[in-house]
């Protein structure tokens, strides 16, 4: 672990909230905290030198909350090592339809996110600070526009903040796609390398951090790494926002300590509202896990890894027994196939082929050969795109083939046990954004 610079030992960290929530501390249910309210609640903003920020972030053990879970200090270090002054981007392009935690942060506590952005940007002596927000989430765009104006009027920030609206496409928030969009192109992933931390916006080293990650960074900057580590586990300290949906009494966004038992998380969402067969973890890039496999486990990488699962960007959906998991999987596979950027053959053709087969299986018009096609094509598609869309789709599909193995057998005999036909998982339909810039 990185040692904190001795000069920081003398730093007087501000006392922070003792328990949860942290990032969602003091928010209003229906409006954003103003700059004045935010400062009253969280205290003055912290600014740091790059070395100190990297050391403190490393000691806190902060990892990214956008889905990949990459160590934030390593990313900061990589951008700081560049020769040109960098660009810092707060990534709020929440393309995952089942996720709304970034939108909750941006609409309820935008200044915490912007504090994290300004902290990172000033430490790295950035040329530019940008907030990228999905344009299909107008409330988030509006709240951040108001917040940026408040900060400009207060004149406290050493750097100006620019808002970039992002097309509401599934892959538009991918780092290289975001860079391409900001550079004036389509929000489509580009071939890497070079990676954005080497050459990104305007050819400059570019730090792209999920907005929740920046909110945690803003809190670490105020309260220090020890405070950050006071909840969560030794290996995975801190808290995370979850977007919990499906068959629970209170589907909502809330904050939990990492390492919390799964049952406690379900209880925090109000408990199961009807019998549940499986949970979707990590959104449409994630995995279906049978309820009985999940019970008793904790929300940690170690506990979830044997299930092939991870928390991803914090999406959890409870699938009722009355709903067919294969129908839900087919809906998502079709959505993912439609969300291809149309650039890489194995993604364009592979996802379309897979989606056709899954649809046939879901409609009980299936043969055993169709099931074999899925295995063969999954192996053929994996790791063959410029971005991770094909890999994520394959992971999602494979988990469905395991979790719903019994249902597949039933469907092969022309039977489906589902009694409830209303779609469960959110898929954008009316007014769906098909644009790329």
């Amino acid at each position: 672990m990185t040692k904190v610079d001795p000069r920081l030992e003398s730093t007087h960290w501000q006392p922070g909230p003792a328990g949860l929530p942290r990032a969602l501390h003091g928010i209003h249910p229906d409006r954003a905290l103003s700059l004045a309210e935010h400062r009253d609640l969280h205290g003055p903003m912290a600014l740091m030198r790059a070395d100190d920020l990297i050391a403190v972030t490393g000691q806190a053990g902060l990892h990214g909350h956008g889905g990949a879970g990459f160590p934030t200090a390593t990313k900061l270090q990589a951008v700081a090592a560049g020769r040109r002054s960098p660009v810092v981007v707060a990534n709020g392009s929440e393309g995952e339809p089942a996720s709304s935690k970034d939108e909750v942060l941006l609409t309820r506590t935008p200044h915490l996110v912007l504090d994290g952005l300004v902290l990172a940007a000033t430490a790295l002596r950035a040329r530019e600070a940008i907030v990228a927000i999905e344009r299909t989430r107008p409330h988030a765009l509006e709240a951040v526009a108001v917040a940026v104006a408040e900060r400009a009027a207060a004149g406290d920030d050493p750097i100006a903040i620019r808002i970039v609206p992002v097309p509401g496409r599934y892959v538009a928030g991918e780092e290289s796609a975001l860079v391409h969009l900001i550079n004036g192109g389509d929000a489509k992933p580009t071939a890497v390398p070079p990676r954005p931390f080497e050459r990104g916006v305007g050819g400059r080293p570019t730090l792209i951090q999920n907005v929740e990650t920046l909110a945690h960074l803003a809190l670490i900057g105020r309260h220090g790494p020890e405070w950050f580590r006071s909840i969560g586990t030794t290996e995975e300290p801190g808290s995370a926002l979850l977007s919990f949906g499906g068959a629970v009494s209170r589907p909502s966004v809330f904050e939990v300590a990492l390492g919390t038992r799964f049952e406690s998380i379900v209880a925090a969402a109000g408990g199961e509202s009807e019998p549940v067969s499986a949970y979707l973890l990590g959104g449409y890039f994630g995995t279906w896990v049978r309820r009985e496999d999940l019970w008793g486990r904790h929300l940690t990488k170690n506990d979830l890894a044997p299930l092939g699962a991870s928390l991803g960007a914090g999406v959890i959906v409870a699938l009722p027994k009355a709903v067919c998991g294969l129908v839900e999987t087919a809906r998502v596979m079709q959505y993912l196939a439609e969300e291809t950027a149309g650039q890489c053959g194995p993604c364009v053709h592979g996802l379309a082929s897979v989606s056709d087969r899954v649809n046939a299986i879901a409609r009980t018009q299936t043969t055993p050969k169709m099931r074999d096609d899925l295995d063969r094509w999954s192996a053929m598609i994996e790791r063959r795109g410029a971005c991770k869309l094909p890999d994520g789709a394959v992971r999602f599909l494979r988990s469905a083939l395991v979790a719903f193995a019994d249902e597949i057998t039933e469907h092969q005999h022309g039977r489906c046990q589902a009694t409830h036909r209303e779609p469960l998982l959110p898929i954008p339909h009316a007014g769906r954004d098909w644009g790329w810039r």
Binding site: T190, A191, Q343, C344, G345, P346, C347, H349, G350, S353, W377, M380, R384, G385, A386
Partner: protein, 67 residues
Amino acid sequence: MSERLRLDPIRCDAHGVCAELFPEGISLDDWGYPILRAGPIPADLLEHARRAVFACPALALKLVDDR
């Protein structure tokens, strides 16, 4: 120093020339797109790999140092 092939999947347009010129290292998937064999290219096959790289109409194939 050994070399390996790298494909830019965005540029690739499934012409299939590469698989014809270098079948030892490149096969085609069900949709006609190349699948590269993993790992460094044996020295005696390097000439064929090079020919495949130069023949790609989309300039999607490259030889890179195997690191």
